[in-house]
Amino acid sequence: MDLSTRLRALQKSAGMHQPPAMPATQALPPASPPTRSPHSGISAPDPAPSRRHPDNSPDQREAELALALQARVLTPGLLLVEQALGPQHVHGGIELSELQQLQDAVLGMPLPASSGGWWFMDTETTGLAGGTGTLVFLYGGLHFDGQCFTLRQWLLTRLAGEPALIDCVMESLQQSALMVSFNGKSFDMPLLRTRARLQRRSLPEQHLRHLDLLHPARSAFAQRWPDVRLQTAERRLCQFRRVHDLPGSEAPLAFLRWLREGTSAGLQRVVEHHRNDVLSLAGLTVALARAFLHPHLHDADAAGIVRRLRRQGYQVREGQAQLAFAP
């Protein structure tokens, strides 16, 4: 009796859940065609046809994906999508250049000068389970040097590219004085540290300040909104609407499909989704700063904001329409 027959027999006798008889790759649901989104009311265009290239070499498939994403192949297994955005870039209803005027400490944390590099960072992973078995396959962000914005996204196309990816993670951290994330303190950074450790590296973090927008967003809006997720915040505060966005929960599947079948359509949509995420981080930083200064104008919870600022050691005076505070 071969192993899988024996195992099925044993699992059946143990009353265990039966594993699918066919390989899981075939059991994956088909890449869902974009449907009419009930929120946006915009009908999505047809997706790029997803192709399967069983005969092509991995290098060739990678090259084709790079072409489609307008990316560079940094090393076999790792692509870089890089794009300079003008200083006047607008995300939703927010002009990102407003970051230049951001008042120091407005979100309850002193901010290093933007000339030292601000890094609006996010990751896409093979899951939410955490631990050593979760892989970061897309890392990147929006880099702001006080003047210009540069978008950088590193995409794993093979697991062999992970050591190079970690090098890039380390470099991006070294080039920044401030990192801005959404839930990065509990999710992205522990995961990146784990991936680095598995490559026997350690992330340079000593110099880096980390502003995790989840926490100020919660203090200002947990009492106001049904949930405080990135997409809720960007919709309400930045007036940003996504068009046939790939739900974040489908990102792991898209990566698996690429690895196992070589289909890239889903992966391309993940890159687009991630791009919107990091732009929203920049937009939200501006919008949240406004809400902290003028809670009543933005329907924010002034009491929650004051509590947070006091907890961080600030003196707060509540004015008519504005909070004034000093360290």
């Binding site: 192993l3 899988s4 024996r6 195992l7 027999a9 044993l10 699992q11 059946k12 006798s13 143990a14 009353g15 265990m16 859940h17 594993p19 699918p20 390989p23 899981a24 790759t25 059991a27 093979t126 899951g127 939410l128 389970a129 955490g130 631990g131 050593t132 078995g133 979760t134 892989l135 093979r158 697991l159 062999a160 522990p190 540290r193 784990t194 450790r197 598995l198 792991p252 698996l256 690895l259 196992r260």
Partner: protein, 822 residues
């Protein structure tokens, strides 16, 4: 552990010449009954002589000492000397030498022999000298906490700066980081290692880089399925440690077993040296085996052991002897505590202080009881095995076991709780009516002779192995050709890749699934698919209990009376697919017993021993279990007061088994009727099962028993008339007289776990002794025709009919065991 006699004596301020009293054994010039515990033993024997089946005496043993090794950190030596420990015991010195030489080690010595110094000294030394890290694993959280307290005390006395922390489910989230980064010695349990540490090993990088010692105490608890899981967790531990460049040394400690080195090597996958010559002194120890009196001679039913235990405990406390009573369930702890409190309530003398101690009490409450015991504010404590292990409760005089704890090793561990320096200790094992208890009190040599219990594990059991391969792949990618345990697992990994859990790229299998596999694997349960028992009394909808998948069909059928702490609940609805049973509290005077048709078919024979007339073999079997109905049995009278039908899916399983058969021609020569032979096989199976479980240290439900046809055409059950019935798999009656030459009744003892956990192979090696043991069990039983203690329950009508199930079983056992096997 603070129960080390050497440590204890220093605290209680005994005379410096500790061994003087022990060098004078009780003899003619030194009458035994001068000692209060022995006086009690004498009195019990005088009054209840017929209930005492044996008095086993372990003579006092003098200490054997050895000097501190010269390399040992002088601060540690000084700290011990301050405690009054001038020298080590010989086994401690021996252990230290092994550890210093870099060898893996198993220390096998009794309770209170100072075994914790065997690991604490070299570990503290290594931590101090080289910044080494150590991981301690205990089976329970309470033991881990005790060990940290002991380590901290030694550490403080020696003025070392070693940091020891517990890390378990109770460790607050904000303290975990500190444990990971600052802990020199981390004290945890296998479950936490499996689910909390290994899957997050990168957070423990510093700890693993320095990991030099792994200490595993109470090793004998890691046997069977639990032990097979733990062996795999340790494979994962070694794999992760190796990633960080560490190859730790293992120090294991165990209660007495027949095969400690084998079990230790199976657990850690490396060669192990043994230290088993105990150098610690001990006082004289008397063990009384106590059998409650027979109250129904026809059916062999005895008085309950509860009242007997209460009586003995009361006498001991009245003599001013500090007493511990062990019960085998939490419920029984409460019952006995109440009985004892009630008993002393009626006494005119100053009221004795009785305390209960069991799992389920809050930690603070338990700590308070421990303190009260150490401070002599409690006269008698009633406890579960929660107090069996190393928790420090000071010295006691008398230990009473209300029922056999399930293993000889466990019995000695509990008895080890009693014993003060220079005084004799008394233990009393009060047998229950359970067949195993009855067997043991009639065979005192089990307590006297060399250990017979084998701790067995089967780490390569396919289901268990696959679960841990998932966990291991999650922790670190597998290289093609990498060994896990002793064997390459490429085939298994390819299977997981095919299932979409792993991804193979360039000779490496990577975890590629959004799940946390360790959460799906519980080290202490058999397989997943546990049933929840939900109490819906008064619309409550509370989870009352959890039942293993394998036991569900036999206990949770609709109409079943399910007992929780003796409170009966009736199963109203069983949701088989949803794995839930809905029950309601009820009041009934009966319990239910499922009728179980177990039908085995031999698939493959691996090994056979035969003497021509009978054979014993092992191999692979297919098992089909059907539960067609149940009986309602009235309490006390054990009358059958009704039946119910059960409609449940069949349970099928491939597993391994051991079996015995007798040549059909020989059966016909020895039995007038084949139906009597069948009864003989059923009775023999009952006895063989009991003895085999005892030898293999298996829980009895882990080792199944069945009687059926060697060709798989029929199987036998004990019917409502208490007689053997043979049935075909479709349930129709089979008449053995019509079977012709193909009547081959077979006793099966099978591994009650899919695929088996390796019980049958060692059992075949012991087959001769098992048959002999079973023959003695039946032959020496004082009942006339058979009783629950030998061939299983019989009915009164049996005796009147003039047929003796006992005689039939004896005949079968004689045929099975008469000649030498080849």
């Amino acid at each position: 552990m603070p129960t080390d006699p050497a440590l204890r004596s220093a605290r209680s301020g005994d005379t410096p010449n500790l061994d003087a009293a022990l060098r004078e054994p009780p003899g003619p010039n030194n009458p035994a009954n001068a000692d209060p515990a022995l006086a009690l033993a004498d009195r019990l024997q005088q009054h209840y002589g017929e209930r005492i089946t044996a008095r086993i005496v372990q003579p006092a043993r003098p200490a054997r000492h050895a000097p501190f090794p010269s390399w040992l950190n002088p601060a540690l030596v000084a700290a011990l000397q301050q405690r009054g420990v001038a020298q080590l015991y010989s086994h401690q010195a021996e252990a230290l030498a092994h550890v210093q030489a870099g060898r893996n080690l198993v220390v096998v010595t009794p309770t209170a022999s100072g075994k914790s110094l065997c690991y604490n000294l070299p570990v503290l030394h290594g931590v101090q000298a080289e910044g080494a890290k150590a991981l301690y694993l205990f089976p329970t959280k309470a033991l881990a906490q005790d060990q940290v307290a002991e380590l901290n005390e030694l550490n403080r006395q020696a003025g070392l700066a070693v940091r020891a922390f517990t890390f378990d489910g109770d460790t607050p989230a904000d303290a975990r980081q500190a444990v990971r980064l600052k802990g020199d010695i981390v004290v945890s349990n296998p479950d936490m290692l499996h689910q909390g540490i290994l899957p997050h090993h990168t957070k423990w990088a510093q700890f693993f880089e320095g990991l030099r010692y792994v200490v595993i105490d109470e090793m004998h608890t890691y046997r069977g399925i639990f032990g097979s899981h733990v062996a795999n967790v340790l494979r994962r531990l070694r794999r992760v440690a190796a990633f960080y460049g560490s190859h730790p040394q293992f120090i294991l400690c165990s209660a007495t077993l027949a095969n400690p080195v084998q079990l230790a090597e199976g657990l850690i996958g490396q060669a192990v040296s043994a230290v088993d010559r105990n150098g610690a002194p001990s006082g004289e120890r008397h063990l009384l085996l106590w059998n409650p009196p027979v109250i129904n001679p026809d059916l062999g039913i005895r008085a309950s052991n509860r009242s007997q235990t209460t009586r003995i405990a009361r006498m001991a406390v009245q003599q001013g002897l500090k007493t511990i009573v062990f019960a085998n369930s939490r419920l029984m702890v409460e019952v006995l505590t109440k009985y004892l409190k009630d008993a002393f309530e009626r006494d005119i003398q100053p009221r004795a202080h009785i305390s209960a101690y069991r799992g389920g009490y809050l930690p603070n409450e338990r700590r308070r009881t421990e303190q009260a015991l150490r401070g002599d504010q409690v006269d008698c404590v009633v406890a579960t095995s929660a107090l069996e292990l190393g928790v420090d409760i000071g010295s006691l005089d008398v230990c009473i076991l209300n029922g056999y704890p399930g293993s000889i090793a466990g019995t000695w561990q509990r008895l080890g709780r009693a014993g003060r320096r220079g005084r004799a200790a008394l233990g009393v094992l009060v047998a229950s009516s359970d067949a195993l208890d009855q067997y043991l009190v009639r065979n005192p040599e089990f307590f006297d002779a060399a250990p017979v219990e084998h701790g067995r594990i089967a780490p390569d059991q396919l289901l268990i192995l696959m679960e841990h391969l998932r966990c291991a792949a999650f922790e670190l990618p597998f290289r093609r050709g990498e060994l896990f345990g002793e064997a390459s697992v490429d085939e298994h990994l390819a299977y997981l890749a095919e299932q979409g859990v792993l991804h193979l790229e360039a000779d490496r299998w990577h975890w590629m699934s959004d799940s946390y596999p360790a959460n799906a694997v519980s080290l202490r349960s058999v397989a997943d698919g546990n049933f929840l028992v939900i109490d819906q009394t008064d619309q409550r909808k509370e989870v009352l209990a959890e039942v293993d998948y394998s036991a569900a069909a036999m206990t949770l059928y609709e109409g079943a009376i399910y007992l929780v702490q003796a409170q009966p609940y009736q199963v109203e609805h069983l949701d088989w697919v949803g794995r839930k049973a809905f029950v309601r509290a009820t009041r009934v005077d009966y319990y239910t017993d499922a009728i179980d048709y177990t039908h085995l078919r031999i698939l493959d024979t691996f090994e056979t021993r035969s003497d021509g007339a009978a054979l014993c073999a092992r191999g692979e079997v297919h098992l089909l279990r059907r539960v067609p109905g149940y009986k309602k049995i009235k309490y006390y009278s054990h009358e059958n007061v009704g039946y119910g039908n059960i409609s449940l899916p069949d349970h099928e399983m491939h597993t391994s088994s051991l079996w015995w058969q007798i040549d059909p021609a020989i059966i016909d020569q020895h039995f007038a009727r084949r139906s009597e032979a069948l009864d003989g096989f059923l009775g023999a199976a009952h006895a063989l099962h009991l003895v085999a479980a005892l030898r293999s240290m298996a829980e009895r439900q882990d080792l199944g028993r069945a009687v059926g046809d060697g060709n798989g055409e029929w199987f036998a059950t004990v019917g409502a008339d208490s007689r053997g019935n043979a049935r075909r798999p479709d349930g129709s009656r089979f008449d053995p007289e019509q079977g012709g030459d193909r009547f081959v009744p077979t006793v099966f003892l099978y591994d009650n776990f899919p695929g088996g956990v390796g019980l049958s192979e060692p059992l075949l090696a012991l087959a001769g002794e098992i048959v002999q043991g079973a023959a003695d069990l039946v032959g020496q039983c004082p009942c006339p025709q058979g009783c629950p203690a030998c061939v299983g329950p019989i009915l009164a009508s049996e005796a009147q009919r003039g047929f003796s199930p006992k005689a039939a079983a004896s005949r079968v056992l004689t045929l099975l065991g008469a000649r030498a096997w080849t």
